[in-house]
Amino acid sequence: MRITVGEGSCGVAAGATEIYSLLEQGIKAFGIDCMLTVTGCIGMCYLEPIVNVTLSDGQLATYVRVSAEAVGEILKLLCNEENNAEQYLIAQQDQENLDAQQRIALQNCGIIDPENIDEYLDAQGYQAIKKCITELTPEQVIDEMQASGLGGRGGAGFPTWFKWQSARGSEGDKKYMICNADEGDPGAFMDRAVIEGDPHQLIEGIMIGAYAIGSDEGIVYVRAEYPLAIVRLELAIIQARERGILGENIFGTDFCFDLAIKAGAGAFVCGEETALIASLEGERGMPRLKPPYPAQKGFLKLPSNINNVETFANVPWIIRNGGSAFAAIGTEDSKGTKVFALTGKIAKGGLAEVPMGTTIREIVYGVGGGIRGGKAFKAVQMGGPSGGCIPAKLIDTMIDYRSLAATGAIMGSGGMVIMDESTCMVDMARFFIEFTCNESCGKCTHCRIGNRRMLEILERICNGEGQDGDIELLSALAEQVKDGSLCGLGQTSPNPVLTTLRYFRNEYEDHIYNKKCTARQCKPLLTYTVIDDLCIGCNLCAKRCPSGAITGELKKPYIIDNEKCIQCGKCAEVCKFAAVAVD
């Protein structure tokens, strides 16, 4: 019998650590013969804490949103006592949503114990690297990658085999294999799940890449905000070394490789590969001009290859199953699967790994369970601050590189921020530009000052101070920033502005010319009024109003003084008769 507790960051946040210790105490107290372990995130973050129980007959039961009471029922079940555990079982729909996914990068996440190398080994772990170094030449490995069609999962989708071949072709004895785990997009946590849930798979992927390019040293650049990922990866590296999987003469071959972790200090731009290299070198994290590309002159000016976590996580599967098997999944221009992180106004937030070519509708209304509170889907922001929004009318867009690019958005690393009718698209653009402003390294003119100026224009529009000509100024500036910025951060940062201008121009116009925010998010544009017919004159709103803007006589309709009103919304919130209208 085996019990696993989902202890990814999402599970821990939902209280999984406490559930684990309750189970541990119970198992001990009742002398239950079972193995208790942790596992990573299975993707259903909205159901955490999740406890999986594999009974001796091999039957698996998944309990969700497990509380202390639920632990009691599960313990009763384990003691074969009468219990109510059934009510905590995963709903059939949720199980189906999970089963419908096609999991390659996440194949072991939420299933195996990431802190135990044996569990990874049992799941065909390190078979792929063994095959590479004992049976395949580096060229054959690269050929297999080419056959798979795997593109970089960090966002751009650049063919992985091509990068590897360039690095392999670069002159030099010393080469570096670098893993970019500086996942920084707001609303993106795919890479974190992979490292926390299956660190050995990542290590194996890096090793295969290292063998292919001829590198004996690897570095994983992880953002310091992922402490659990760092701990699990460190542990995995130690275990792999102990088993001789990392180090000298791996599997008795000439192949030597070791891996180190570098914790990034939290600068978003360090996810850009040249800035990442500068940061690794101890320099200020600022992008450098390409060429020279890292394959020619990377870390310490030596040939280096940089891939994203999810890219590496696909590699062992490709070697084990063959490139063509991977290429059979997905669409013509986008092969394999992609992990998406669903956040925002979605009913079932979490991770989903689906074949390329799945539509946005299938993800939002399938795995995602639709919009929270049954509201209408308005748009999805794909690709974080570098991406763009895709409006409801394009919900049947297939998720592949080409189709997404046509909308003005990008695949990005896989963050999908779902928005409903209560999201103001101008405010959304403002949010992302503010993010970019804070994360710009300050090196190039367009990004450093251009984003700031865009933010100022967006702020004044949201504050009801937008002027005639602002839309034109904003869109012209956005194009200039896109055209003139040095690195990907600035070249893509205008995308949220450009796509919202493309699909939601009317909202900008409403803000500027009608001084209205139809989503009712931009406070300075809101007017609160009492609906006389509904107000019973209970005085509650007036009592709660922090600015003394509401006056009236008991049992008669109250009046809101708009001069004094600070648009905090407290009156509408406390009114029991829906007598406060917001416009």
Binding site: R284, G442, C444, R448, R453, L486
Partner: protein, 768 residues
């Protein structure tokens, strides 16, 4: 080696594999602008100015970093490229604060470089100061006496205590010029073979003639009066501007080879058409020679005269006003001139009649004060409603008493009659000094404005007649101060120059960065009283026409010049940012928003930092690291608030700086400048002479920036060369300051080795 062929702007170019587009373009004489690139440092690519387009490539390329490839077709000036550069410059300027030019120079209608000449005077370099003034104004001594000096109104020293006495400075050096045997005048350009006529020998006309002549044209000036000078001669009394001073300056103008034709009234003695036939271009600068009448009954009586007419009569045929009562109506400078002239002519009582109070008077404060000292009786808040006379001669004036009402649209409180309150003043003479208007006789060909002045384009000065230009009091808004006419005269001469070359007349106003300052910004300045003029005693001066002010002693002038706050950017004449900004016609105002302000401390004896002007090109940081190895400067913070600061918050002098000056030399703006080795810092267009360092046996060749006898700074003789602090800042013999520097010995030694190598020196290495 590996030769590659490409085209740049359609021109065939060749280069080597591994060369950037920028390098190859440069080798073929095609300039691609950049603010952050320098061959001495590694490729960086931050400014975004050097972008170009390559055929078939959807992205803009940074020419500084993109390696040229065989077959490339590059366009360095496409519309997209221009727009991108313009946007980059506008963004940079939206976060760049400083004053390219000082407020004084910007306020001057003739764009006189006030800070420049004041600074030169402070350094005792009078001849250069004079040359600088004469680049804009051909009569410094005269204008220095009469100008109501808008420069001083704009002077920020007012925020400390009082403005710098800029006009007096001009007079000071102007007077030195008068003592010279031959006036200092710029050289005349080779003859163009073109002829121009100037109608009117006042300040505007003579200025136009002066600059036309300097540009090599043949010039004749026609004037209706017997002597040149216009209103400077006939409208300004002797005691303010001695005719001898004016005449000397006019003589100097004439001596350039300008033909003067006096007592010739164009339109009567010779027609405009004839002038056009005899010349390639004509500039009309006839001035406004009639007084505006008040329009009250009795103005036609004998003894009632216009202010202008009164003043003009004084020079030609002065007569005594002994024992007479004289009323002068009006509150402007002409009214004051008339009052004070009447006093000097012996009038028993001189009344000034003005319908508002002294505070509202348009006349200069000093004029009002001096008039009062000289005995003028101010009848403020009175308005003449009738001149009473007997036998056709004025005897009295009826005055309506006034009070100030509510402020009008312009904010000025307008006078309102107090009903029933009047007085009658016995007078023998009434002078109406209410303003001037044009005598448009004889110029019927020219289209007039509704106000009756000559219609001339504000920027090109072109009139309705081809080849005829017009400036000064006779045009558009009518009468203004002399310095405005001078400014217009100079600009019109430039326009005529273009016209004579057959070029299109155009105008683009120069973009200049400006900041707002308040008294808070100058709290650290020590108060120092403005120099006061040496006025002759009122009791004495009011009895003669001799000049009121005595000459200013040299030391006083120098002290006064030192009061200048040095508002204008030291780097203006070398600044790449402002150069590009104007080349690309920037309009950064549309991006107005948050502007970074970092504290500036003058913490280094030789390097002056002004972080508000920094555009983060990083050249200083990189050159200090990559070339010198001192890493005294670095980037601090990220994003919009990124700044360049000395390491670990130290003062630059304590941050490992070896004072090689390379950072300041490479800074494309005024964010880092070298302190000039002169007493008063002053922005100047430098000239260069050769020099050599005598501090060590390497004997580096140097380029010394000079202005007159002032040695401003030293630069390596070779472009891209290096100097150590001893040569760089020690050439002016300031040993004490050099010794105070904490120069890290190791870095200094390695710099000396680099310098020795670059100079091919193989003798023993000098000690630090």
């Amino acid at each position: 080696m590996n030769e590659i062929k490409l085209t740049i702007n359609g021109i065939q170019a060749t280069g080597q594999q591994g060369q950037t587009i920028l390098d190859i373009a440069k080798e073929h004489g095609i300039e691609i602008p950049t603010l952050c690139h320098d061959d001495r440092t590694e490729i960086y690519g931050s400014c975004g100015i050097c972008v170009v387009e390559a055929e078939g490539n959807p992205k803009l390329l940074r020419a500084c970093s993109t390696m040229a490839a065989d077959g490339m077709s590059i366009n360095t000036n496409s519309d997209r490229v221009i727009q991108s550069r313009k946007a980059a410059l506008e963004l940079l300027l939206s976060d760049h604060s400083g004053d390219c030019r000082p407020p004084c120079a910007k306020a001057c209608p003739a764009e006189t470089d006030c800070q420049g000449y004041v600074g030169l005077i402070a350094n005792g370099e009078y001849k250069e100061a004079l040359k600088l003034i004469k680049e804009k104004v051909p009569f410094p001594a005269s204008i220095g006496r009469v100008c109501p000096h808008p420069c001083e109104d704009a002077c920020r020293r007012e925020l400390v205590e009082e403005p710098v006495a800029i006009a007096a400075m001009k007079k000071f050096v102007g007077d030195i010029d008068l003592l010279e045997e031959a006036a200092n005048t710029p050289p005349i350009a080779p003859a163009t073979g073109k002829r121009a006529a100037v109608v009117g020998g006042g300040p505007g006309g003579l200025t136009a003639a002066y600059f036309l002549r300097l540009n090599g044209h043949e010039v004749t000036v026609y004037d209706a009066m017997p002597l040149m000078g216009g209103m400077l001669r006939y409208g300004i009394p002797e005691y303010r501007l001695p005719k001898a001073v004016l005449q000397k300056e006019i003589d100097a103008i004439e001596s350039l080879g300008i033909k003067f034709c006096n007592s010739v009234r164009v339109g009567a003695d010779i027609s405009l058409k004839e002038l056009q036939d005899q010349n390639d271009a004509v500039i009309v600068a006839v001035g406004a020679w009639s007084s505006i009448s008040l329009g009250c009954p009795g103005e036609e009586l004998g003894g009632v005269i216009g202010g202008i007419e009164f003043l003009r009569g004084i020079d030609i045929n002065s007569k005594s006003l002994a024992g007479m009562n004289v009323a002068v109506v009006g509150g402007g400078n002409t009214a004051m001139d008339a009052c004070r002239t009447a006093v000097r002519l012996g009038a028993a009582n001189v009344y000034n009649i003005y319908r508002r109070t002294k505070n509202e008077m348009p006349a200069e404060e000093i004029e009002i004060r001096q008039a009062e000292e000289e005995g003028v009786i101010f009848k403020n808040l009175t308005n003449p409603i009738e001149v009473l006379g007997k036998d056709g001669t004025a005897q009295a004036v009826r005055l309506q008493h006034m009070e100030l009402g509510e402020p009008d649209a312009s904010g000025r409180r307008s006078p309102v009659p107090i009903q029933g309150s009047e007085e009658t003043l016995a007078i023998d003479m009434a002078i109406m000094a209410l303003g001037q208007r044009l005598n448009g006789i004889g110029l019927q060909e020219l289209e007039l404005t509704r106000g009756g002045t000559i219609l001339a384009d504000e920027h090109t000065f072109a009139t309705s007649v081809e080849g005829v230009f017009a400036v000064g009091d006779a045009t558009n808004q009518g009468a203004d101060i002399a310095i405005s006419a001078i400014g217009e005269g100079k600009r019109a001469a430039e326009m005529v120059g273009l016209y004579l070359k057959g070029m299109k007349l155009g105008h683009s106003s120069e973009f200049l960065s400006s900041t707002e300052k308040t008294a808070e910004d100058f709290l650290d300045r020590q108060k120092q009283q403005r120099v006061s003029a040496h006025e002759r005693d009122a009791g004495v001066r009011s009895r003669d026409f001799a000049e009121i002010d005595l000459p200013m002693p040299e030391q006083e002038a120098k002290n006064e010049a030192f009061r200048c706050l040095e508002c204008g950017c030291r780097d203006y004449f070398e600044c790449k940012l402002i150069d590009y900004a104007n080349r690309y016609n920037v309009e950064p105002d549309k991006y107005r928003g948050l502007v970074n302000h970092n504290p500036k401390k003058d913490e280094h004896p030789f390097i002056v930092r002004d972080p508000d002007k920094c555009i983060l090109c990083g050249l200083c940081v990189r050159v200090c690291d990559e070339v010198i190895g001192a890493t005294a400067l670095g980037f601090v913070d990220r994003g919009f608030v990124t700044s360049v600061k000395p390491a670990l918050g130290a003062d630059l002098a304590d941050a490992g700086c070896i004072a090689c000056g390379l950072c300041a030399q490479m800074c494309p703006t005024g964010a880092l400048t070298e302190r000039q080795m002169i007493a008063k810092q002053v922005p100047l267009a430098e000239e260069y002479t050769e020099g050599a360092c005598d501090k060590c046996p390497i004997e580096c060749k140097m380029k010394i920036a000079v202005k007159g006898s002032l040695k401003l700074r030293a630069l390596p003789a070779k472009e891209g060369g290096l100097l150590c602090y001893k040569g760089k800042f020690g050439f002016a013999g300031n040993a004490g300051e050099l010794e105070s520097l904490k120069v890290p010995a190791g870095i200094q030694q390695s710099l000396l080795e680099k310098i020795a190598k670059a100079n091919g020196y193989d003798g023993p290495m000098p000690e630090n």
